[in-house]
């Protein structure tokens, strides 16, 4: 795989080469890898103006990604322009703001991108332009410019900034799954936040026994709560891709329903929530989809003996949905799943 430069850029670089050759720094060799959860391992790096760059792009993630360098301030323009493109595994994008790019890499593929840093000092974004990725999966190449504190750098994604802010939250290395009972936005004070593998996270509310929302990206910044006496909310790092409807997700019969939280068991690091609906035991175990595109909610209601109405919100369930409600037979209701996928931004 070789580097691709558009013609205009190539001629500019050549002109610059002949004029200022003696000032050039040694070629820059670096590796940039993808990280599950729509991130690059390096949120930013520096280069000298006109420096030769040999960048090895690796994709150890379990989904496809690409790497596109754009002109300063044009990341979102490129992202917007590519959203409507049809899926094309080998695609190369034509856009005037693109400096250089790799094709789309499948999981575990890699590519080498050889290019010359622009001679104009500036902050050049790089981004994965696959649908839905561009809002979170990006970084910045600082050409001839010094970098500010990571925690204050607006050119890197929020989760990278948060990393800059809190490096050491516990006595163990960061891990997923990870669960915090903590004050969360848009939930009752008895909220629970869970980080799953593949960069998906969700908020489950022990105050009313239901999943409230799910997001993709980083997890949460707990410091607004932990820094002081609890007078704050944890901050979500990433983008919400699913929010629960107002209607309770499960309704047994037609009676007014009382939900009581009973706790949870840890199954392979993931909580399986237990609550009762009018005394009937319900279990909900949420895992990430293996391709990282969302979450799957595994429900168990072992002792149910009447039909169950399910309001999944925007989601998939193996039953017919009519007016937002799927009615399951008592047999079906003993074990069923609801899947919520990361929707591509329009």
């Amino acid at each position: 795989m070789c580097g691709l430069l558009n013609n205009k850029m190539r001629s500019l670089t050549l002109a610059f080469l002949t004029l200022a050759l003696p000032l050039f720094a040694a070629p820059l060799k670096l590796t940039l890898s993808t990280v599950p959860g729509l991130q690059f391992d390096k949120p930013r790096f520096t280069a000298e103006p006109g420096q030769e760059i040999e960048l090895t792009f690796k994709n150890p993630d379990d989904m496809a990604h690409n790497l596109v360098f754009t002109k300063p301030g044009r990341r979102m323009a490129v992202v917007q322009a590519t959203i409507s493109l049809p899926p094309d595994p080998e695609r190369i994008i034509n856009h005037p703001a693109i400096l250089t790019q790799t094709p789309t890499l499948k999981p575990n593929a890699s590519a080498v991108l050889k290019f010359t840093a622009p001679k104009a000092k500036g902050i050049y974004p790089y981004v994965c332009t696959l649908p839905g990725h561009g809002l979170l999966m990006y970084g910045a190449m600082y050409v001839g410019k010094s970098m500010p504190d990571l925690a204050k750098d607006d050119h890197v994604p929020p989760m990278a900034r948060a990393k800059g802010a809190n490096t050491n939250l516990h006595a163990w290395p960061h891990r997923r799954p990870l669960m915090y009972r903590i004050f969360m936005p848009d939930a009752s004070p008895a909220a629970i936040a869970v980080a799953l593998p593949h960069g998906v996270s969700y908020c489950w509310d022990a105050g009313n026994c239901r999943l409230r929302y799910a997001w993709i990206g980083g997890f949460v910044d707990p410091m607004p709560v932990w820094r002081g006496n609890g007078n704050g909310l944890a901050k979500i790092i990433g983008n919400k891709f699913w929010t629960a409807p107002e209607t309770p997700p499960l309704q047994v019969g037609h009676a007014q329903q009382k939900a009581e939280f009973k706790g949870y068991r840890i199954i392979k690091g993931h909580p399986e929530f237990h609550y009762t609906l009018n005394g009937l035991d319900v279990y909900e175990h949420i895992t990430a989809l293996s391709d990282g595109t969302g979450i799957i909610r595994n429900f168990r209601i072992p002792r149910i003996d009447s039909p169950l109405s399910v309001t999944p919100g925007h989601g998939e369930i193996d039953a017919e949905i009519s007016k937002g409600v799927a009615v399951l037979s008592s047999n079906q209701a003993k074990a069923f799943t609801i899947t919520h996928r990361h929707q591509h931004e329009k």
Binding site: A171, R181, A206
Partner: protein, 655 residues
Amino acid sequence: MKNVLFSIGLLMFTAATQAGSVNDYYKIENIAAPKGLDLQIGGLTFLPDGRLAACFHRGEVYIYTPKTLQWTLFADGLHEPLGIVAEDNYTLVVMQRPELTRLRDTDRDGSADHYETISDRFGMTGNYHEFAFGPARDKVGNYYVGLNLASSGASIRPEIRGEFRHYGITREQFYKNHRAGSGRMYSATPFRGWILKIAPNGKTTPFAPGFRSPNGINFDSANRLWVTDNQGDWLGTSKLFHVEEGNFYGHPASLVWTGQWEVGRNPLKVPPAEFDAQRKRAAVLFPQGSMANSPTQMLTDTTDGKFGPFAKQLLVGEMNRPRILRILVDEVAGQTQGACLPFIDGGGLNRGMHRFAFAPDGSLWTGSTHLSWAGGSGLQRITWTGKTPMELAGMKLTERGFDLTFTHPLGNVEATQFEFQRYYYKYHQSYGSPQLGKETIGVTALKVGKTGKTISIALDKLNPGYVYQLTLKSVTAKDKTPALNTLVCYTLNTLTNGDDKAPHLIADSSSGGSTSKPVKAQPVKLTSYPQVLDAALAGRQGPSFDKRNGGFSGKGYADFNGQSGEHLEWIVNAHEAATYQLAFRYALAGGNRPLALKINGKLVQKSLPFNDTGDWTSWKDLITDATLQKGENQIRLESIGASGPNVDRLTLDRH
């Protein structure tokens, strides 16, 4: 000059020798913990197998093996756990903000796999101050937890758990402007301000109301339940209560959940006398400033002498100082009351003494916290060296005074070495109370007992409703060892004849009367501008004069006591009639306490908006204009139903 320096040096040296060091008697060591762990400790307990379990600010529960110095993570993800007890080597029960939880290691792999909700049957508004403390466990396995009130300095969240009820105001109205509805610490959802009893199976019963911030909750070896509470509104100073089912312990916000409270009735509008008649007074008061500002967990010394000479006595921690206190319990006419005194003070002790547990070897393990207030962090171990300090070991009320017991036979003593003072704290909705009615009490007789360890003291005044403060002056053991701690405060609620009447404890807020004597203003001639007039120059009817909260200027500040009808008045002599700028410097920790401004008896401002400054030590100017006449003028601030701020001074300026 040289001589002066020398003698100062000598004095300091002598003082240090005389006082002795707590480390002669108790060794204090720091316990190393895993790197990266925020060592703010919410709970400590020893498992039956001798390992230590601790829960931390960021939701972790670790188990520490003292023999191998190893830490293992048992559980994580908890929401501000503030107490922990062990049911067995594999089962721990923690109180976290939203619930009482049983952590079970069912597969015996060393970490909890089942987080079982024992009870979450209480409300949460999301207000940060709604901490949840405990659990204490009784002999048959029931749990007791304490639920904080919400802070009037913050609102509720848009979504809450549980029923909302607040004196006829809707949840939406309250959320938008909580100050309009709270004013003081509030209980907008059940059962904030209560002690709850929770059976092992989760059955939850409201046990006793009347608390503000019941951080410490525990049983003693006589199966008495003790609860500490923190100075603030309705608490003139911090307290230790002996708690029994159904009693009311003084902070009225929680009474809205008794089932008998008239819906919509605001406790802040009820005369304190009504609550005073119902409340049960604290067994022990901790004088603010000298004893404790934020008392924490109470723990009985159950070591049978392994931890020194104070077996069965109660220990209580303190947040603001590196200090653990001792409680000397006294039973008088069927009532529990007693004294407090410093026990381990300094000597390398951390601040923020929050949680305690005795190890099987009789060493005391302490955990600190701060939660962004005064305090500290870290785990420490305290062991007794085997040497017995010269200390007060018992204090009992008699018909005429007190019987004192010491750990060693006394040296020669005389009456002047036992200096008694008394004072009281007012029961009112204002934040804290100054020490009122302070006076020296004479020792009329003194008799040392046969063993030489006891002494009977007769006093010239003995009345219920006072703290009797005793200072030991150069009291030593027979072998000249000086007493290690010399300040002790006995809370006298009830005399030996059962008399507990103490009408002086309540302010008559409806008439504006006050326990502070009226003070006349000292007239001041205005000469240059700006001219500063200290609160000490003002006349007072109601407000007391105080200097406990730092940052004031001049001699001190005026502290409004009752709700209305009190005033503060400066008298100034102006050389010409003109419009003057008036700047009132004041502090107010929370809420709004508007005052009326009257000039020469005429109402010129119905409601001067004294809004909160964030703290009692944060002073701000409230500026307004007023026209003064030539000659003498009375400038009066008058309380109009919401008490008043602490007023430091008035600055007059010309435009």
